[in-house]
Symmetry: C2
Subunit: 474 residues, 2 copies
């Protein structure tokens, strides 16, 4: 355990404070599991060559914060519950004020900005209103597919913002995309094979596995998912994000969309699951019409979520089913109660129908656009510009930074980790990594606080200093 | 459609009002589907032998309430969304002030009282507090098994109120029992056969089917689930509600509990799912210790929900997994995000840890106890006492009223429906109905507003007037 705690490398922090931070990080990310016992103070002091009081000081800080428990007899034990939630979200020993940087420095998953931008005031006011109205409907069992008011508001939003015409009765509200995707797998039946993009959002494979549904991985190119590969596969259902592929940022070309729709009509029982998870965050140009609006076969299933536009912890997503599938759902799965609280459904319905949602999206868009520009400018002005190229980033909050390096992605990650930086690489999202998917850093610019952009770029420069030097010497 | 609208039987209501109510009821319970066209005013007027203005009046009321839409050319069409949610919850043409009686007269599912008793003020205040604290943790991704604060509060509650000792790290919070039960089925794997009580809560079979998991039905007797039948079955996992079987109200005897636990230890890979859904609502005596507290094999899974003690539409339930299963869950299913909103988890955590929950349960208990007594007294004083017997009702909000009748349950339900009353019969919950399960009305006394108890009893007397008369003539 203590091999990591290199007190020589503590960047000016007092020893006890550095040690406190190291141990806390190990607890948070699960290296030290709940219930495990820490070394006795004396032996750790001897091992690290520090005074016992340094250890004492660090341990007692951790006790006061609830990370450790002092058990008479058995010493200091890790408390339960402290690892979870912060696991995989730790910067380790980078000397950046830690209250501002909990997550990976360049981490797609942490939606830092949306946290600060969440319209808590409006939300609180509407929630208060919902609660004070004491509408009996709020306490009665919600329809299986969600409160009518919310579905109506979503239908209105879909029409206004994306030109999707849909009756509220075809919308199903659920606790997150994963939940709805699971219900879809149950609905489509166990004889299906799902096509999943590679690289892509790995959770769809995880969910499919947990529902014992088979899947094939389908590669993509600059135009989006390879329909050629899809046709060669066994799949009869395909999950795609044409508006913004994760994590490459590829927007499906109109030619490819046509190809995909003609694949759909090629056989009678094929389906497309169109996952439109962050298409609202678009910085310019006209958004291509969602596939669902061009679907003449009535076999495109449209999925979207409020995780990216509001906050992930609300757990509200929805899907739009074609009429026939909706009938099937009603027959087979409507015994499942709606998984979203009626209070929050009603609050969200008001939030959308009273115009807050649209204003909020506009605000998000402006904020992220500015943020993206700052990061791109800083990159352009840094020496990284010599050895890198940016792909994607027209929609959503991430782009790809392709680095000219000979280092393997594994090696790059190791080097970064040495500097205390967790890098997400495109190959992390690939099941079958290729030369094309190598050397690509996935940058979630929403996760970098504005005042830490230059630190982040500096760290990247340090990580790739060999490449920069080599380039300068060429 | 109009065959039902017997204007001769409108119990003093003006014709237009009676008609308005009939049509609305048909829309609500789905007899008139969204999009279907109503008869032209003239033809309906002719058919019912009323004036056109009566029809006009009824239709325009329905338009103003959003049930109908007047489409130029195509007449009056049923609006979408009005059927859902209220389906199966309609009293039809019983002349009871309808704003107080939306549900079935004697319906287990409608938790009417809990609606009125829901502590909206305290809940609103705590929710406001949570929202105004702007705790970043509220907006970050919640741990897969729920907010630590909530799990800690639940662990404390389980220990204080039921003597269940459990670490918060073994608790998983999810959006309702059905959701958690589904996750359990995924966790236990597809080679399992689940034992489900017959009669019992039908949804468990529905959920099992949707997860393609096989199940066997196991009968029960007065001591609870038949362990003898369980041993003869193929099942290696059993779902039971020993604290209060639904809908019979049987409390599992201590002997049967011992038998069941010894079945559990009979083979190494057996599990009990102990569903403790409404055990908090107990009117007297000492509650038997939950099975999970006597589980030496670490193979009892404990499930509970806040649907019965707070309100169903909140969608918050939890399960306690044995250590080994929790490890398995962490490995295989923790990629699933927690399905409950962080705001509501935090509000509930405060609600429990600040003592509101305990006080609320005490209040519920007093209220339901009083309500139960009123219903039992009214029954005892009515002529129904001559031909009926009460079973169950020591826990929860329902009991069984066994009627001495020769009518089949189907016939009884038809007779009741003629009076506009939807009766729940025990046989409705049986897959294999027996003589024992016949002639038993499931009475959810929580669903009868206090000032309608006598009306409800009167209606039951009318339904069973033949039996009462026969008894009096004997």
């Amino acid at each position: 355990m203590t091999a990591r705690y290199d007190l020589g490398n503590r960047e000016g922090l007092p020893k006890y404070q550095y040690l406190h931070r190291c141990i806390r990080s190990d607890i948070r990310n699960g290296v030290l599991a709940a219930g495990s016992r820490l070394p006795a103070k004396r032996s750790l002091a001897a091992e690290l060559e520090v005074s016992v009081s340094t250890i004492e000081h660090a341990y007692s800080l951790l006790v006061s914060e609830g990370y450790l428990e002092a058990n008479p007899g058995s010493g200091f034990v890790v408390c339960p519950g402290k690892a979870e939630g912060t696991a995989f979200f730790d910067l380790g020993d980078v000397s950046i004020p830690e209250h501002t940087l909990h997550g990976k420095l360049l981490d797609f998953k942490a939606n830092r900005c949306s946290l600060e931008l969440f319209p808590l005031d409006a939300w609180s006011r509407l929630m208060r209103q919902v609660l004070s109205e004491r509408d009996p409907a709020m306490l009665e069992t919600v329809p299986f597919n969600g409160l009518y008011e919310l579905r109506k508001a979503i239908a209105f939003h879909l029409y206004e913002s994306k030109g999707i015409r849909v009756s509220p009765s075809r919308i199903i509200v659920g606790a997150g995309t994963e939940y709805l995707y699971g219900k879809l797998l149950q609905l489509l039946g166990d004889q299906r094979i799902i096509a999943i993009e590679d690289p892509g959002y790995k959770k769809f494979a995880d969910v499919s596995r947990s529902y014992r549904t088979y899947w094939d991985y389908i590669p993509l190119d600059k135009q989006g998912l390879s329909v050629e590969a899809l046709m060669k596969s066994r799949a009869d259902v395909v999950h795609v994000s044409p508006a913004n592929h994760f994590p490459t940022g590829v927007i499906m070309s109109s030619g490819r969309r046509r190809e995909l729709l003609s694949w759909l009509s090629g056989k009678p029982d094929r389906y497309i699951i169109e996952d439109d998870y962050d298409s609202e965050i678009r910085y310019g140009g006209r958004a291509p019409a969602p596939l669902v609006t061009q679907d003449e076969t009535q076999r495109v299933i449209y999925l979207n979520t409020f995780s990216k536009t509001l906050v992930p912890s609300l757990r509200i997503a929805y899907m739009v089913l074609p009429e026939a599938l909706m009938d099937l759902y009603r027959n087979q799965l409507s015994f499942y109660s709606c998984t979203v609280s009626s209070f929050e459904q009603s609050t969200l319905a008001k939030f959308i129908s009273e115009g807050y949602f649209e204003r909020h999206i506009n605000r998000l868009r402006r904020h992220y656009k500015h943020q993206r520009q700052l990061v791109l400018d800083a990159l352009g002005q840094s020496k990284l510009a010599l050895i890198s190229e940016v792909f994607g980033g027209e929609v959503g909050t991430h782009f790809i930074l392709k680095i000219a390096t000979n280092c393997s992605d594994k090696e790059v990650k190791r080097l970064a980790a040495e500097k205390g930086v967790s890098l997400d690489m495109l190959s992390d999202y690939c099941v079958h990594p290729s030369a094309k998917s190598s050397h690509c850093v996935v940058v979630n610019f929403a996760s970098i606080p504005t005042d830490h952009i230059s630190v982040a770029i500096d760290l990247l420069e340090i990580i790739f200093q060999r490449e920069i030097l080599a380039h300068q010497h060429d």
